[in-house]
């Protein structure tokens, strides 16, 4: 029999699900006592190369408020051609097309190995993918040039029938018309005025007078072509758009000294959302926002244009001194909700040295399943490759993205969904939530009613989405777990505990709370909750600690934290540290200052950063150029090894991590020093009196201290 370890691994591979507990306590009370809630990490669109989609539609339970999909857990009466829903126990006849089923001839959805199955729905006309670029033009010339090139490049990555649109903004917002020949035409909106969707559509000439109501049907296609002035198939406007992008100028409005350029990000997004809303509601679309600075005017402004007023910091926020924060956040949330409802996702690509207002805008991506990418400049490989990776293809040559996903969660009667954390927004429908471009999310499942022992609880995830090849698909994942009585079967339950999943889940809960509550409170809560867990690094992570991080950075880190899968999430919580030396093959070492030795090369992966750290001696050797000498070939190889490994990681990760190559004493070494456990600090350095490792100048407690304290607490509390 397989161990829980294997079971968990198998489940994750097959269904993309990891539960914190793989045996469920049978009552709410018991569940509460478990501290770590019964919850799961679910990756709705986990890549399953081995899972061919079926070409028919799912069979649904006929009960109006159930509509669960036929699954392997259902009881089937092959003779009567009847199946019983395992959620509501409704007995349903099979549809006529299933007339031929028998025990020997079962449809795929009834086979246990197809606990996850994907249907292709033929309904409706396939809508093309839509990519709407929203580009900030208040950039440095160099940045803009790089961005333009990236955008032009991206055109070649799009499927020919995809619709593209372009909105640029600076002081004004321009919606570019792509169909016209000769003169490049664009519609301009003032950057300071909040317009309703209706106004925007009117001004873009999209809302044709409805006078022709009767003829509405036949006219519709023509209207569609009218929309197309702004959204055109790539194959048709490729050249045109390339030229257009090529001629993009920096925002022509002069920026007086001491001022920030006026950036109407808020209105630009509003226009983008309004445009899509008016033209392609409920069709998968992706708004890609490229910004090089904070919004400085109009609705959604984050900071004024006076340079002497710095952008809000955590300090300001805590002091309630951030004037625009609430208003802007509210504004972007409203936009995000509208966008999500219409199935449009918003990506944010923010490249600037200073903050760009991600804190306020994060909900745009968080609620719509968009990406957030943060970099220093558009002219860096970080951005360029990340952006390129957005359009990466899977083994079928399809984009690794889906659109307009709606995820329904159905549970056995005994269970209830109490919420989801992830890039999604609630549809406010009973028991369902919606999101797009799903990658990973966390569900908290609460008990609803006591369950009979020995029974099984089941959860079904129904994800409807638009595949990137424009097909509409439905993926159904049905999962069952056994109930266990906490009183009698506590050992079983304990053994079914998934430590990693629990760590990540708790961390996400923490982050979720951190987003909505005061920082210190969250830490305290976490401390209370984590007593039994080693969450030392979590406490120190940027997800919870805002010290040393700008609000934007925090938002960025948190954004990614709540949407990466378990492995990546773990890396984020506890960065991995490899050590390279002449003494043996690379080995993982403790994330501790004691690992920092002069004759080692360290490779640290924090998910967001990839740091190669050369120890003091190594660095001196390198400086002396030994690697160039034939007789020190081995040294050269040693230097090369971490680079190769890093390259490997860089290749696969999205978003691209920040790549840092540094050495002992280098300014960038701080990335490493801030992560390692400060087992040696200026306080205890001499006390330890050892030559190993490097002291970290911090007042933070070390893991040792933390653990000591934790032990004491644990003991005292249990006592």
């Amino acid at each position: 029999m397989s161990t829980y370890q294997e079971f968990i691994q198998q489940n994750e591979d097959r269904d993309g699900v990891r539960f914190s507990w793989n045996l469920w306590p049978s009552s709410r009370l018991e569940a509460t006592r478990l501290v770590v809630p019964v919850s799961c990490l679910f990756t709705p669109l986990k890549e399953r190369p081995d899972l061919p989609p079926v070409q028919y539609e799912p069979v649904l339970c006929s009960r109006a408020n159930c509509k669960a999909v036929l699954n392997p857990l259902c009881q089937v009466d092959f003779r009567a051609k009847i199946w019983a829903c395992n959620f509501c126990f409704q007995r349903n006849p099979f549809p006529p097309s299933y007339a031929g089923i028998s025990e020997a001839n079962q449809p795929a959805e009834l086979m246990p190995q197809f606990s996850t199955i994907e249907y292709i729905v033929q309904r409706g006309t396939p809508a093309p993918l839509i990519f709407l670029y929203v580009v900030d033009t208040c950039l440095e010339e160099e940045d803009l040039q790089a961005l333009k090139e990236s955008l032009q490049m991206s055109l070649s990555l799009l499927p020919p029938n995809a619709l593209v649109g372009l909105i640029t903004f600076g002081r004004m917002v321009q919606v570019h018309e792509l169909s016209c020949e000769g003169i490049a035409k664009s519609y301009v909106f003032r950057g300071t005025k909040d317009l309703s969707a209706k106004q925007i559509q009117e001004m873009l000439g999209l809302s044709k007078p409805m006078a022709s109501g009767q003829q509405g049907r036949p006219v519709a296609p023509q209207d569609a072509s009218a929309f197309c002035r702004f959204l055109q198939p790539v194959h048709r406007v490729d050249m045109n758009l390339t030229d257009l992008l090529g001629e993009l100028q920096r925002d022509p409005w002069p920026v007086p000294q001491g001022k920030r350029p006026l950036r109407s990000t808020g209105v630009a997004l509003s226009v983008a959302v309004g445009l899509l809303e008016g033209t392609f509601p409920n069709t998968g679309a992706r708004v890609m926002l490229f910004i090089g600075g904070p919004p400085t005017q109009g609705p959604g402004m984050v900071v004024g244009d006076e340079l002497k007023t710095p952008i809000r910091s955590w300090h300001d926020i805590q002091k309630d001194n951030a004037r625009h924060l609430k208003k802007a956040t509210k504004y972007y949330e409203a936009l995000a909700n509208r966008s999500a409802v219409n199935g449009h996702s918003i990506d944010i690509y923010a490249c600037a040295l200073d903050q760009t207002g991600l804190l306020e805008m994060k909900c745009l991506s968080n609620l719509t399943g968009g990406h957030i990418v943060m970099g220093d400049s558009f002219n860096t490989s970080l951005f360029k490759q990340t952006f390129q990776r957005v359009f990466s293809k899977d083994y079928n040559g399809d984009f690794r993205m889906a659109f307009g996903g709606v995820l329904e969660v159905k549970t056995s009667r005994e269970l209830k969904v109490c919420g989801a954390i992830g890039p999604c927004v609630s549809l406010n429908a009973k028991g369902s939530s919606v999101s797009e471009n799903v990658s990973e999310r966390t569900f908290n499942i609460n008990h609803n009613a006591p369950v009979p022992q020995g029974g099984r609880g089941a959860v079904q995830f129904v994800t409807q989405y638009q595949h990137s090849n424009t097909q509409r698909r439905i993926r159904v994942t049905t999962i069952a777990r056994n109930w266990a009585d906490a009183q009698s079967q506590i050992q079983h339950i304990e053994s079914s505990f998934d430590q990693e999943a629990a760590a990540v889940l708790m961390a996400r809960l923490g982050v979720f709370r951190a987003e909505s509550e005061e920082g210190p409170d969250v830490l305290r809560w976490l401390d209370r909750q984590l007593i039994r867990l080693f969450m030392f690094h979590m406490r120190r992570s940027p997800f919870l600690q805002v010290f040393n991080n700008s609000p934007d950075e925090s938002s960025y880190y948190r954004h990614h934290f709540v949407r990466q899968d378990l492995t990546q999430s773990l890396i984020m919580i506890q960065p991995i540290l490899y050590s390279y030396s002449f003494y043996g093959p690379p080995e993982p070492v403790l994330l501790d200052s004691s690992s920092i030795l002069p004759d080692r090369i360290l490779l640290m992966d924090t998910f967001f950063q990839l740091v190669i750290f050369h120890g003091e001696t190594i660095a001196q050797w390198r400086k002396a150029g030994y690697q160039e000498m034939a007789e020190y070939e081995n040294f050269k190889q040693l230097l090369q090894a971490p680079l190769d490994d890093a390259q490997e990681i860089l290749q696969t990760r999205f978003p691209m991590p920040r790549y840092v190559d540094t050495e002992h004493g280098g300014s960038q070494a701080r990335f490493l020093l801030s992560k390692v456990n400060p087992s040696q600090t200026h306080n205890n350095l001499y006390a330890w009196g050892q030559e190993t490792g490097a002291p970290i100048l911090t007042d933070d407690v070390s893991l040792q201290v933390f653990m000591d304290h934790l032990k004491k607490l644990a003991v005292s509390s249990s006592a």
Binding site: M172, Q174, E177, C180, G182, I183, A184, K185, S186, Y187, V188, F189, R190, K193, L195, Q199, E202, M203, L204, G205, E247, Q249, P252, W253, P254
Partner: protein, 1232 residues
């Protein structure tokens, strides 16, 4: 009259009003009213008298003698003149002989006086001085029209003598004075002159007589004729005093006239002239003297002889041929003629009147005595038409008409002429003469004429020829000018706007920059109130000067800026008085003493003038410019070069009419011709382009772009400018992109179906663009329709014909919404001038749309029912001119005055945020501002009144400058001085602007009544205070204002104040706004169109215009009419083939294409000359005049007739004659 006034005049004239000094009197007898008017110019009077009285007995005798004279006179006049001439001649002769005898004494004295006293002033003096030249000139004028020397002479003399001085008088009464006095006087008086001293008495005596006589005569020749009969007695008597008829005629008339003349000539010219003139006048006798008159006289002699012989048609012709000379005589005659004319006019009436009228006339006349018969008569005749009652002296015309048409016609026709003349004069003469035995012989023909036509019609109407003729006045003025007008003399009225002259700036601003209504301001406000003469100046600060006059010098006072008075801030000017050895100066405006900055210090010479006075424009010139320092700039920042933004309507209508493509094509060329100061360099004016319908499209035409970019702004509710860099560009740099854009615009919108437009946001867009660029500039908006699209400034169609004539009418001239007023204010603050080109197919509410252009110093152009083919040329020429003309931006004008008066009101295209500063976002070379002054204290005669108009503006190259115009005028304590030194054209300019502003808040009718009332008061005041006592039935007009009634009538019946059925509200609003910024020459031609006969085009000189009346058109002729906005070519139904061939290249009248807008280019001198003529007309006006060919009796003729302003208009406007009668009635009411 003549006497009295002359005296007065004489005295006054000395001041230098030589040219116009004479006062004119005109007499009118209202047929209807019964009172006949007798009019005459003061001095002229004499002439008339003779005629009138002469009638019966006199006539013959008088005529007889005259005959001789007449012929000549006729000759000159040919057509029209004849009448006058006749009159004159008659008088002349008649008087001459008699007068010489009788008058001598009396007259003699008067003359003397004149001479002495008025010497300069009156005819005498001025004429004297000027005489030499003038005579000639004047002659030309007279003849001018006519042609003939003959005429000329006659006029000339009249003018001539009077010319300088009297000319006025002459002109005024034209006939009366001249004819009368000169002729008669000349000869006979010569001797008398010696006695001149008596002048005054003489005048009084003389004038009256003359007038009386005149009046009677005036009554028309009729009067004369008629009057003579009936009236003669009375009038004559009165006038002449004792002499009445015969005696008077001879004696008095001559005396008066002669006296005047004599006096005038003598004084001024002195004896030489006088003698000559006199002598000449003295017909026969004069002949001898002629030499003096020079040509004229000589001519005279001949003519006379001719005349004498002339009487017989042939002779007369001969005389005419000799014309000039005859002219001289004529001239005399003219004067006489005037009378004669008057007489003539009267005559007609006369005949009838003789019976009734005569009595009437007499009565009226007699009282008036003064009334120059000549004028009066005309008037009478004038009125008659309507009233018929009057002795419609058909003949009256002789005077006026003659000059014009006849003159021209005659020349060629001479022989025929005689015939022609007769016709006109016939009435008068015929009647008159008919009886006359002597005439019979000579005039045989005439009688015929007279008998036939004249008789019937004539009897009932006042002779239009007998009433003051604008043409006559214009020609007279032209004749007077033969040397540059120097501005140094304070209180000197410049030549009329119709006269071409050169200006030498000697301390006062050129009349091209500033014209005043009065060059002699009353010293007290009481006087001003009493006279009701508006005190105003029409200032055209950036007027273009002819190439032979230097533009204002640019003075740079360095960093500290222009030197100014500490207290009132007046700028350094020639009137500033340097004291304390030059260390300080005293302000001429506020008397404050200011230190002279060290760098500006200069020693004074012994006269107290700075040594460098003539090296510094600001110390020696009337107009100059200062370079402004940064203190004079907005925000204390030197201005950026201005920008031009073209905003083009691309809605369906605009595209379909071809407008869009035309504009785009043209702009490509125009961009090379943006205004620049240095013709060598490229213009620094930047340009931008916007198209719009319901939304706006901006274009990015940055040089670095391969293709222009279009930026659509649909947020019209809250306008903004989508881009800055790339919107306003330098033409040279972005040429390729701009051309590409202009090529593409018409294509892009070729299929548009959008019919709705916005307007407010369009201007906002331009304004915002200028704001963003931080510069001043000009918007060129090409717009087609009422802006009904949802946007700020949206308008409703409120045209409602039913409101016209009601109390609510005025609201239609006010903007519909206040949005545009606010917008205009913002525009002005930014220096954003808006020029609006409208292409409406229906009501567009110009009253509202025009608010911004008018408030920002812009212009509105309107092309109703625009069609590419027919209107393209006009539009493009307007556009070209509008784009290229010199223009200043962001201007502020301030008028400072010396203590005692104050600029109280301003009229024009501008905005005022307070009561003193006139703010003009744009100020171009065609814009004039009329400023009204009021007293706030007593003025002194010594210091006069000063005004300084300073305009701070930004040039088209972005330089900040101050242009300063200084003007000094005299102050007078005698009303007569005021009346002698005012300018009717300017008064009309003021009154029209005043009225057009009035209709915003008052009922149109009330406004008209106000105008009439004011005019009546002006004239009544003159009559009461300045004219010598005379019969109430006489209409007496000041010489300088004798055209006031006719011009005022034109104003009153203009489309704005008296709309016809086919005049839309838009048209009226358009004209209203147009007129508001017109200068004097614009208003002049606008209200009284120029009508040129084209039968003969020779040499470089223009044919003499004819009066704007249908009667003046000959079926066989072709006429060109110019109104400043329209150009008509009227073709008579029976025009000669040859003429048609020459002009149109077709021999047949019916084959003329009346749709043509340009004459075919034919290779013959006539066609060439005519086209040159048309081109030169167009070049003179700020707006291109489309040529309309109007065939007689064609439907389009109605439009043309609308501009025959002396006729009754279809919309109910009174004819000149009617109006004059009405005016007379008003005056009489005021006087009684």
């Amino acid at each position: 009259m003549s006497v009295c006034e002359t005296e007065g005049l004489v005295k006054h004239r000395p001041l230098g009003s030589s040219t116009r000094t004479a006062d004119t009197l005109t007499l009118l007898s209202y047929p209807g009213f019964r009172d006949e008017l007798k009019m005459n110019v003061n001095q002229h009077t004499p002439l008339a008298a003779p005629y009138g009285q002469p009638q019966p007995g006199y006539v013959q005798p008088g005529y007889a003698p005259l005959d001789g004279g007449y012929p000549t006179s006729y000759m000159p006049y040919h057509g029209p003149a004849p009448a006058y001439q006749h009159g004159a001649p008659q008088q002349g002769p008649a008087r001459g002989p008699p007068s010489s005898a009788p008058p001598p004494v009396a007259t003699g004295q008067p003359y003397n006086q004149y001479n002495q006293s008025q010497g300069d002033m009156q005819n005498g003096p001025p004429p004297m001085t000027q005489e030499p030249p003038r005579p000639a000139a004047s002659q030309p004028y007279n003849s001018g029209a006519a042609t003939l020397p003959g005429h000329q002479p006659s006029y000339p003399q009249h003018y001539g003598h009077p010319s300088t001085m009297q000319q006025v008088t002459n002109q005024m009464t034209g006939m009366q004075i001249n004819s009368g006095p000169p002729t008669a006087a000349g000869p006979g008086y010569a001797p008398p002159y010696s006695s001149q001293p008596p002048v005054s008495s003489a005048y009084s005596a003389a004038p009256p007589p003359s007038y009386t006589q005149a009046p009677p005569p005036a009554v028309s020749s009729g009067s004369v004729q008629m009057a003579p009969p009936s009236v003669p007695p009375a009038s004559q008597q009165q006038y002449y005093g004792g002499p009445p008829p015969q005696a008077f005629n001879p004696s008095l008339p001559p005396t008066t006239s002669q006296q005047q003349f004599t006096s005038a000539p003598p004084t001024s010219c002195q004896q030489p002239l006088p003698p000559s003139s006199y002598s000449s006048p003295m017909p026969p006798p004069s002949q001898a003297p002629p030499p003096l008159v020079s040509q004229p006289q000589q001519p005279f002699p001949p003519p006379q002889p001719a005349y004498s012989s002339a009487p017989p048609p042939p002779d007369s012709q001969a005389a005419f041929t000799s014309g000039p000379p005859p002219g001289a005589q004529v001239s005399f005659p003219p004067r006489a003629p005037p009378p004669s004319s008057l007489a003539g006019s009267f005559p007609p009436p006369g005949p009838p009147p003789s019976s009734a009228p005569s009595s009437q006339y007499p009565g009226s006349i007699s009282p008036h005595q003064r009334p120059l018969p000549s004028h009066p008569s005309p008037y009478h005749s004038g009125p008659p038409p309507p009233r018929a009652q009057m002795p419609p002296t058909s003949m009256a015309q002789s005077n006026h008409l003659p000059p014009g048409p006849q003159g021209q016609q005659q020349p060629p026709l001479q022989p025929g002429m005689s015939a022609g003349y007769p016709a006109q004069q016939n009435g008068a003469f015929g009647q008159v003469r008919g009886p006359q035995p002597g005439y019979a012989g000579p005039y045989p023909g005439q009688p015929n004429y007279g008998a036939p036509a004249p008789a019937a019609p004539a009897q009932k109407r006042l002779d239009p020829d007998a009433i003051p003729s604008p043409i006559q006045v214009i020609e007279d003025d032209k004749a007077k000018v033969n040397e540059p007008f120097t501005t140094g003399v304070r209180g000197q009225a410049p030549p009329l706007v119709t006269t071409s002259f050169q200006v030498k700036d000697q301390g006062n601003a050129s009349p091209r920059f500033v014209r005043c209504t009065a060059y002699n301001m009353p010293c007290t406000s009481d006087m001003a109130k009493q006279s009701q003469v508006p005190l105003a100046a029409v200032i055209k600060p950036l007027a273009t000067l002819p190439p032979d006059e230097a533009p204002p010098y640019l003075v740079d006072h360095g960093e500290s800026g222009p030197i100014r008075c500490n207290r009132c801030k007046a700028y350094m000017c020639p009137y500033m008085q340097f004291i304390e050895g030059g260390r300080r100066f005293q302000c001429a405006f506020c008397s404050c003493v200011t230190e002279v900055p060290p760098h500006y210090f200069q020693h004074l010479d012994h006269t107290g003038k700075r040594v460098d006075c003539y090296e510094r424009p600001e110390l020696s010139l009337g107009s100059y410019e200062f370079l402004a320092t940064v203190d004079y700039c907005k925000n204390n920042k030197l201005p950026q070069p201005p920008a031009f933004i073209f905003l083009i309507d691309v809605s369906y209508n605009a595209v379909k009419s071809g407008l869009v493509s035309i504009v785009c094509q043209e702009l490509k060329i125009l961009l090379d011709n943006l205004p620049r100061e240095n013709p060598e360099a490229d213009s620094v004016v930047r340009v931008g382009f916007v198209t719009y319908n319901k939304v706006l499209h901006f274009y990015n035409v940055k040089a670095s772009l391969a293709q222009p970019q279009m930026l659509v702004v649909s947020d019209v509710a809250d306008m903004f400018v989508p881009l800055l860099d790339g919107f306003l560009v330098n033409v040279a740099e972005s040429r390729l992109v701009i051309e590409s854009l202009l090529d593409q615009i018409p294509e892009m919108f070729a299929d548009t179906r959008e019919t709705e437009t916005v307007f407010g946001p369009v201007i906002q867009a331009g304004l915002e663009a200028l704001k963003a660029a931080d510069c001043a500039g000009k918007l060129f908006v090409f717009h087609t329709s009422l802006p009904i699209a949802e946007a700020p400034g949206k308008l409703k169609n409120r045209e409602d014909k039913k409101l016209v004539g009601t109390d609510k009418e005025k609201s239609l001239f006010q903007p519909q919404v206040s949005f545009y007023n606010t917008l205009a204010k913002e525009c002005v603050a930014q220096g954003c001038c808006v020029d609006l080109f409208l292409f409406p197919n229906q009501y567009v509410d110009i009253a509202t749309l025009g608010v911004v252009p008018v408030s920002t110093g812009g212009s509105v152009y309107k092309y109703t029912y625009f069609q590419a083919q027919s209107d393209q040329e006009r539009f493009l020429n307007d556009l070209r001119r509008d784009v290229q003309k010199p223009v200043g931006f962001d201007a502020v004008m301030r008028v400072r005055t010396s203590t005692g008066i104050r600029a109280t009101d301003f009229y024009g295209s501008f905005f005022m945020s307070n009561t003193t500063d006139v703010e003009l976002a744009g100020l171009d070379c065609d814009k004039a501002v009329t400023v009204e002054f009021k007293h706030d204290d007593k003025l002194s005669e010594e210091t006069g009144a000063l005004m300084q108009c300073a305009v701070l503006y930004t040039t088209c190259s972005g330089q900040r400058r101050l242009r300063v115009h200084n003007m000094a005028v005299n102050c007078c304590s005698q009303l007569a001085d005021l009346y002698r030194n005012c300018e009717t054209d300017t008064i009309i300019n003021f009154l029209s602007k005043y009225a057009l502003r009035g209709i915003l808040n008052n009922h149109t009718k009330a406004v008209r009544d106000t105008l009439i009332n004011q005019c009546a008061q002006i004239l009544a005041c003159y009559r009461k205070n300045c004219a010598s006592p005379s019969s109430a039935g006489q209409l007496i007009l000041p010489e300088c204002m004798k055209l006031l009634p006719v011009y005022l009538n034109c104003v009153l019946k203009s489309d704005v104040l008296l709309p016809g059925a086919d005049i839309s509200l838009d048209d009226r609003a358009y004209l209203r706004q147009l007129i508001s910024c017109m200068d004097v020459s614009d208003t002049h031609v606008f209200f009284y169109p120029r009508l040129l006969p084209l039968m003969k085009l020779e040499g470089d000189s223009l044919p003499v215009a004819v009066r704007a009346s249908e009667e003046r058109l000959s079926k066989g002729g072709v006429y060109l009419m110019e109104t400043g906005l329209h150009l008509f070519l009227w073709v008579g139904a029976s025009v000669q083939q040859e003429l048609l061939l020459n002009i149109f290249g077709t021999p047949s009248f019916s084959q003329i294409d009346s749709a043509m807008t340009n004459l075919p280019v034919l290779d013959n001198p006539f066609s060439k000359r005519l086209r040159e003529l048309i081109d030169s007309f167009r070049a003179q006006r700020s707006r291109y005049m489309k040529l309309m060919v109007v065939k007689q009796e064609d439907r389009a003729e109605l439009v043309f007739k609308h501009f025959l302003v002396e006729d009754k208009s279809s919309s109910g406007g009174a004819s000149y004659v009617d109006f004059l009668c009405h005016m007379h009635k008003e005056i009489r009411q005021l006087l009684s």
